[in-house]
């Protein structure tokens, strides 16, 4: 049996088992089973990827046919899996980081009862299965299947606390907003089906050049609509911050490290189509850049630490999308990889803080926690340094690469770079603000401070491993002028072999170094400002609802996206439907039906009153008149 099948179906099997019988197993066994399945899946994934690496670079593609899904005479599509360098990288991320997060969840969720505990691990395992389906897909139907299933598992996990209305609302919102994107994805799939008569990547992507320019643009934009929904790009980003209603490991796994990067993965997978359409690529790049900048500005004023990381995730996803949008697929994917490490780390560390403070998430009530939780503090600083782009961290290299490509890449534009740069500045500020508010300065809520404690080792270990990973993963993609050892670029090279030569050389070493100096300086200055503002006794946090300026109000309310959608889509649509129901369905359509019935009844009533009135003699008269009439007719016509 192919090891890929184990990678894919083992988490599914444990998910089903845990959901059905996990409550009876007890907590330890349920969690052990879940963690073990992901660890085994990781081992098999690593084995598959090593097997792949042993192949010559040009033939690094393994296709596994599981069974036939649909067979419509001239068209067939199977449940096919494709292992190539791109999906190989993704399955390692999903199972590897997934395992660490599972491990963390063992400690984080321990207060739940056995039933809820098993349900949680069943859902998370199911998510791992769905995400693996998505990345391993070898055709558009399977990728769509995975695409929807990650949506389902995300829905289930966001709404994990089933008794809470806000959790159910957030899950529903996430699913529906994603469905809006899926609508585009589905249309793109149908267009591809029309154009190629097949949905297999192998039949579509290498021959993408056969698409007319208009068609390529349409397919590209529709695909990106799906990608924007899943990767929370504006204007479809509104679900992600609300998704923080789920347990923190979920935020780390699904809403930071893996699922939300599916959009970036999709664009990279279908780059052959996007490359045909400058318009589609432009839309991708500008959406990414605007999202990166605007979400970063929102993150600067939020006080809920998970919400800050949520907007930060939206912003960082914007960078990845910007990266693939300017044709720097490798750079975008590298940022995906580094972000998966450091953002998972940041969320888990935030969860650790939350755990220590019994659910407190408001940074205005924290402060000085480094004394109480040195490990969490240290790892979170590492993560924040990566996020902010402190020199020599992984985030520094990956973001640097994207911005360089925005300025000098094949589809570069100065505006894109500027938005990206401003976003990076905001990122440095809000990262510093969060770290300094939470861990430094003086405790602002002494009661909470007194009860704070370091998390147990099952939660600490993943933090340490992720912190080490966050720093080390940067080595895989050092800038080109430093070294010729480029494992990440080389690994992905076969996937992007169809692109024109990588235009790395078009940037001079002086420019690269100058930009690096600029970023370093910016990070240093803004970090210093944040330190000054947020370590003092009072700190510079305004209270809830207290807006210091119109700009602050705009950012505090996240540019009023939710309000606008609530008005246009929810209230207007429901109002329209209600109108339609009352006046058209009940009024016009059913009214016509009942009207016909009422008319028949009225006619009957009329006849009953006038003709069929119960007077026997009158009936006799009708009878006689009728007889005379017949007799008369017979006399006239009998000849």
């Amino acid at each position: 049996m192919n090891p890929l099948l184990v990678v894919l179906f083992l988490p599914l099997a444990t998910a089903v088992f845990n959901r059905l019988f996990g409550a009876r197993l007890g907590k330890g066994a349920a969690a052990g089973l879940a963690c073990a399945s992901v660890l085994v899946a990781f081992a098999f994934a690593a084995d598959s990827v090593l097997g792949l690496a042993a192949l010559p670079a040009a033939s690094r593609q393994v296709l596994v046919h599981v069974y036939d899904l649909l067979d419509l005479a001239s068209f067939r599509v199977g449940f096919d899996l494709l292992l190539d360098p791109l999906s190989g990288m993704m399955i390692l991320v999903v199972t590897g980081i997934g395992f660490l997060i599972h491990l963390y969840a063992v400690g984080y969720m321990h207060e739940e009862d056995a039933g809820e505990y098993a349900r949680f691990f069943a859902y998370v395992n199911f998510f791992v299965f769905s995400m693996l389906t998505l990345v391993l897909a070898a055709n558009f139907l399977v990728i769509f299947t995975g695409w929807e299933l990650v949506g389902v598992s995300s829905y289930l996990l966001i709404g994990f606390y089933r008794g809470k209305t806000s959790a159910a609302d957030a899950g529903k919102k996430a699913f529906i907003v994603n469905r809006v994107g899926d609508f585009g994805f589905l249309m793109a799939i149908f267009l591809i089906w029309n154009a190629f008569g097949s949905l297999d990547f192998s039949a579509v992507l290498p021959h993408a050049a056969a698409l007319s320019p208009g068609m390529a643009t349409a397919v590209g934009l529709l695909l990106f609509m799906g990608a924007a929904g899943k990767s929370a790009q504006g204007p479809l980003h509104v679900w992600l911050p609300d998704a923080m209603e789920g347990p923190t490991p979920v935020s780390a796994l699904i809403h930071a490290a893996t699922m939300v990067t599916a959009g970036v993965f999709l664009v990279a997978r279908c780059h052959a189509i996007f490359e045909l359409s400058p318009l589609a690529l432009g839309v991708v790049a500008w959406t990414g850049a605007l999202t990166a900048f605007l979400a970063a500005t929102v993150a600067m004023v939020q006080v809920d630490i998970k919400r800050v990381w949520a907007y930060s995730t939206v912003s960082q996803l914007g960078y990845m999308v910007l990266g693939v949008g300017v044709g720097a697929y490798t750079a975008g994917l590298f940022h995906l990889l580094t972000h998966a490490f450091f953002k998972a780390l940041l969320f888990l560390a935030a969860g650790s803080v939350m755990h220590a403070l019994h659910g407190e998430l408001d940074m205005r009530r924290m402060g000085g926690l480094w004394r109480k939780m040195p490990l969490t503090c240290a790892t979170m600083i590492v993560g924040a340094a990566c996020l902010a782009g402190v020199p020599l961290t992984s985030g520094f290299f990956s973001k640097d690469e994207i911005l360089l490509m925005a300025l000098r890449g094949p589809h570069a534009d100065f505006g894109l770079w500027l938005l990206g740069y401003l976003g990076a500045a905001c990122t440095a500020f809000y990262s510093g603000r969060l770290i300094f508010s939470v861990f430094f300065g003086k405790p602002r809520d002494h009661h909470a401070y007194e009860h704070a404690h370091e998390s147990p080792w099952v939660m600490g270990l993943p933090l340490v491993l992720l912190a080490v990973g966050s720093l080390a993963v940067g080595l895989l993609g050092l800038p080109g002028f430093l070294t010729h050892w480029q494992p990440f670029t080389d690994w992905l090279a076969p996937v992007f072999a169809d692109l024109k030569a990588v235009p790395e050389a078009s940037a001079s070493r002086a420019l690269v170094l100058g930009l690096m100096a600029l970023y370093t300086g910016t990070v240093a200055v803004l970090g210093w400002i944040a330190w000054r503002l947020y370590t003092g006794e009072a700190a510079a946090h305004p209270a809830d609802g207290e807006a210091t300026s119109a700009l602050h109000r705009l950012l505090w309310n996240k540019y009023f996206f939710d309000e606008a959608y609530g008005f246009v889509f929810v209230r207007a649509l429901l109002g329209y439907s209600r109108w339609l129901w009352r006046w058209v369905d009940q009024g016009l359509v059913d009214g016509t039906v009942n009207g016909v019935a009422a008319a028949a009844q009225a006619a009957g009533d009329f006849l009953r009153g006038r003709v069929h009135n119960g007077r026997t003699r009158q009936y006799a008269a009708y009878l006689a008149a009728g007889a005379c009439l017949l007799l008369g007719l017979a006399l006239i016509y009998h000849r």
Partner: protein
């Protein structure tokens, strides 16, 4: 064999009505045993057919009214096979759903359910059109009594509306049937109501239009297509649970089945002429139905309007005249029967416990009913069309078919993907999630073994058909391709009732 399938439930109905099962406990036990036996027998017969080619199998003929050219003629092909199976499957489920709900006249209740099953078999298997018409009309009567006797408060209004509306529609069809019989006489020399004779007639295009319209009206009311749908929510809301399951599960399929078999099979030119108007009606119906679901406050009405939306999609696939669309439509008939049957089953479970369908009372049910919560989810996902469940496959194929025919139609219809998620998640949340809704919710008890069994079977099918759709699609394909072959321009002067196209399709 097929005659046994049709008439054994009728015999069972008589046995139940006059047999020695007076109390509701013995009646329900007898009904369950008989329905399971019937299902087993039907499954055994269906298993035996060879569906690798188009054409009717296991045909049986008897001269009945030779002077009128009407006979008794039954036959089974890949299209009717699964609908017959669905009909066999849903009866035991419906019997289980009325286990505790029906205490008044239990024998009559179960007898009527069997009679209904018999009539529905008759419709799916008839190849003689007069016989078809008789079964078609006769299927109304058991449902009339099921709603009228065991229904809710406004049951008389609902049941009279349902029966009169459907009857009114089928009168024109009767006229069209007689017309066709005379047309057969002018062309072949003798009156005939036989479907196989009719399929070899050359019907002038002008007449096709009228005949098509007459058939279409009858079937569209049954489906029901917008704007003929308003009887459905009323009937569903008033019907007892078993009635709702059978109504949504099989009775609606009579309409779509007949559209596929007769409107497309007999009048290909008219079908092409009417394609766009019908597609537009379906699009309106699918989107409009979904919008209606969004604003309902009644649990059952939500499910009923979602049927309007789904059946709109089904007919959309049917009138795309593409293989994907036809297969999708056929699968929709089946899958809608399963998932909506399950939804009505769930509504019934709640109603038995709370005695209300008002959604504002509901909330947080999953906290009290974890097992139902587990089984509810796949049903909701299937209704939304999430991959891995059966609902996805048919929705995907129907949309694909529509898109292949007219991209705008596929695009508009795909809006239901978003709206479907919106209304199903709203329903799920209203009922299952959030804090407990109040005293009625506090008193909820989780589902019993009997309820688990009936819902569990449907959920298992939801997954099985969602994961391995080819199990069904591969043996409906030849028959569906035969229908399509008649629809393709150029082949409209039919040669044989079962074109050979089906046989060649599979290498």
């Amino acid at each position: 064999m097929l005659s046994l399938i049709i008439f054994s439930p009728l015999a069972f109905a008589l046995a139940l009505a006059f047999g020695p099962w007076g109390g509701h406990k013995s009646a329900r036990r007898a009904a369950l045993v008989l329905s399971l036996a019937q299902a087993a027998f039907t499954a055994w017969v269906l298993w035996g057919g060879d569906f690798s080619a188009a054409g009717f199998q296991l045909q049986e003929r008897l001269a009945w009214l030779p002077a009128l050219g009407a006979g008794y003629h039954v036959g089974l092909d890949g299209i009717s096979r699964w609908l017959v199976a669905l009909n066999a499957l849903l009866l035991p489920i419906a019997v289980l759903s009325s286990w505790n709900a029906v205490e008044r006249y239990p024998r009559a209740h179960y007898a009527l359910m069997f009679a209904l099953q018999s009539m529905v078999y008759g419709v799916f298997l008839s190849l003689d059109m007069l016989q078809f018409y008789i079964f078609w009309e006769a299927s109304l009567l058991p449902m009339y009594f099921l709603i009228g006797v065991w229904g809710g408060e406004r049951r008389l209004y609902a049941t009279v509306k349902f029966v009169l509306y459907t009857l009114a529609g089928s009168l024109l069809m009767l006229l069209a049937l007689v017309w066709m019989a005379f047309l057969a006489r002018t062309q072949t020399g003798h009156l005939s109501f036989d479907f196989l004779d009719w399929s070899s007639l050359a019907i002038p295009a002008g007449q096709q239009m009228w005949l098509f319209a007459a058939f279409f009206l009858a079937f569209a009311i049954k489906v029901p297509l917008f704007p003929f749908h308003t009887w459905l929510p009323d009937a569903h809301v008033e019907a007892p649970t078993a009635g709702s399951i059978l109504l949504a599960g099989v009775l609606l399929k009579l309409g779509t089945y007949a559209l596929m078999r007769f409107n497309l099979g007999l009048f290909p030119e008219a079908a092409h002429a009417f394609q766009k108007p019908v597609l537009i009606i379906c699009l309106i119906g699918a989107v409009y139905g979904a919008l209606m679901v969004l604003v309902q406050r009644d649990f059952k009405k939500m499910v009923a309007y979602s049927s309007v939306s789904h059946m709109g999609l089904c007919v959309l696939g049917l009138f795309s005249f593409t293989l994907a669309g036809e297969q999708g439509a056929l699968l929709t008939m089946l899958n809608h029967g399963i998932s909506t049957g399950a939804l009505f089953l769930i509504v019934g479970m709640f109603y038995e416990r709370t005695h209300t369908r008002d959604l504002s009372v509901y909330g947080g049910a999953v906290l009290k009913m974890p097992v139902l919560g587990l089984l509810f989810l796949p049903v909701a996902l299937s209704s939304m069309g999430v991959p891995g469940t059966n609902g996805f496959v048919n929705e995907f194929l129907c949309l694909r078919g529509a898109f292949e025919a007219f991209p705008w139609a596929g695009a508009v219809a795909a809006l239901t993907v978003i709206l479907g998620a919106a209304y199903m998640l709203r329903l799920t949340q209203k009922v299952m999630y959030g804090p407990l809704g109040g005293a009625k919710m506090e008193a909820l008890t989780d589902i019993t073994t009997r309820e688990r069994a009936s819902l569990g079977v449907l959920v298992a099918l939801i997954f099985a058909l969602g994961i391995f759709p080819e199990g069904i699609l591969s043996n409906t394909q030849p028959s569906v391709q035969a229908v399509l072959a008649r629809l393709t321009p150029g082949a409209s002067t039919p040669a044989a009732p079962a074109p050979a196209a089906g046989g060649e399709a599979r290498p």
